[in-house]
């Protein structure tokens, strides 16, 4: 995994895990890799992963069960809320970027629609 340099690594890993949970890549109730295994996989410090799991636990995204490991929550509401937050953040970042380029609300919506139409056409071409 490539890390962005200006953000703490633990936050980047947290976002990555959240993303995987929201997208269903990691199903609810699933056991996460052990601290060390994930550290080796991502080539980061084990303490960083420990912090990731602790923060995820504070946010109720994960639960640690003594002696068993860390598990993704089974509470659908938490996952749904997480999805909302992630999507809101993405849309917000997008709108901010577009506003910097002097796009008005109408222009942005037009651009989105335009892009969707292009996408549809491409789909047709492939078929």
């Amino acid at each position: 995994m490539e890390f962005n340099n200006d953000l703490p690594i633990y936050q980047q890993i947290m976002n990555m895990i959240k993303y995987d949970i929201v997208s269903g890549k990691i199903p609810s109730g699933q056991k996460l890799l052990s601290t060390r295994d994930l550290a080796i996989k991502l080539k980061v410090n084990p303490n960083t992963i420990q912090r990731v799991y602790k923060e995820l636990e504070t946010e109720a995204v994960c639960q640690s069960k003594r002696g068993l490991g860390t598990f993704v929550t089974e509470d659908d509401e938490v996952i749904l809320m997480m999805k909302e937050t992630l999507v809101d953040d993405m849309v917000k970042t997008f709108i901010e970027g577009m506003t910097k380029l002097n796009y008005s609300r109408e222009n942005i919506i037009d651009k989105i629609n335009c892009q969707f139409e292009k996408g549809d056409q491409q789909d047709v071409n492939i078929n």
């Binding site: 340099n5 200006d6 953000l7 060390r36 991502l42 980061v44 084990p46 303490n47 960083t48 912090r51």
Partner: protein, 233 residues
């Protein structure tokens, strides 16, 4: 967390040349420290004082609660930059040599590491490539169950595959009850595995802190901070 190394106002002079100046720092168990600095900044001097290979000119230091001595040496695993393994030995002889030298040497771990590092037990040390020799040095050093593990320039002169292997190995073998100290100027390669960073310039601590905090506060990678700090060095 317990403090394994405590340095207070350490100074080291080689004749009139100042190598380390007023170095004060506590090293805690369960953390990986990166001593970062350009050539000649005092990284190796610091490690050698901790390893009881050099004596400080003034100041205090304790390693595992005691002044550096033959007793603390048995708790410190230090890998110098030099090729210190005899060329006439085979890989397996060097393992046996370490086993004889150090009571805390873990044979099983060593054999696992040789396998992981793809080293042939029957090959002669003198016929190993630079990368293989570096892998052997690290494997032997971290096969000791020491409380203090110091690796001087562990990634220098190695190809990307060897570097990845060594990083994986450091993460996997790192023990919460010990402290690991790595010195390097190849910051990008190693910053993700560091808890704490110490920037050393001309023997003094220029900047020090938790890697994640520094990244967050300055919105920069440790590598970029390094470039900024040592721009004029």
């Amino acid at each position: 967390m317990s403090i394994l190394i405590n340095c207070i106002n350490l100074n080291k002079k080689y004749m009139s040349k100042v190598a380390l100046e007023e170095f004060t720092l506590k090293f805690e168990a369960g953390k990986i420290y990166g001593i970062l600095g350009p050539n000649g900044s005092g990284k190796t001097t610091l490690m050698k004082i901790i390893a009881d290979l050099h004596k400080q000119s003034s100041g205090e230091i304790t390693v595992c609660g005691n002044k550096p001595s033959h007793e603390t040496r048995s708790k410190v695993a230090y890998m110098p930059t030099e090729n210190f393994i005899y060329g006439w030995m085979k890989v397996k002889d060097s393992i046996a040599f370490y086993k004889d030298m150090y009571a805390d040497f873990d044979m099983e771990k060593a054999l696992d590491l040789m396998n992981f590092m793809e080293l042939d037990l029957n090959q002669k040390v003198s016929s190993l490539s630079t990368g293989q020799r570096a892998r052997l040095k690290i494997s032997l050093t971290i096969s000791r169950r020491a409380e203090v593990v110091m690796l001087d320039e562990p990634l220098n002169g190695l190809d990307p595959i060897s570097r990845t292997k060594i990083k994986e190995c450091i993460i996997e073998q790192f023990d919460e009850n010990s402290v690991m100290i790595l010195s390097t100027h190849l910051v990008t390669e190693i910053e993700q595995i560091l808890d704490e960073v110490v920037f050393l310039g001309k023997g003094r601590i220029v900047l020090q802190g938790r890697a994640e905090d520094l990244r967050f506060e300055r919105g920069k990678s440790v590598e970029d901070i390094y470039r900024e700090v040592f721009a004029h060095a």
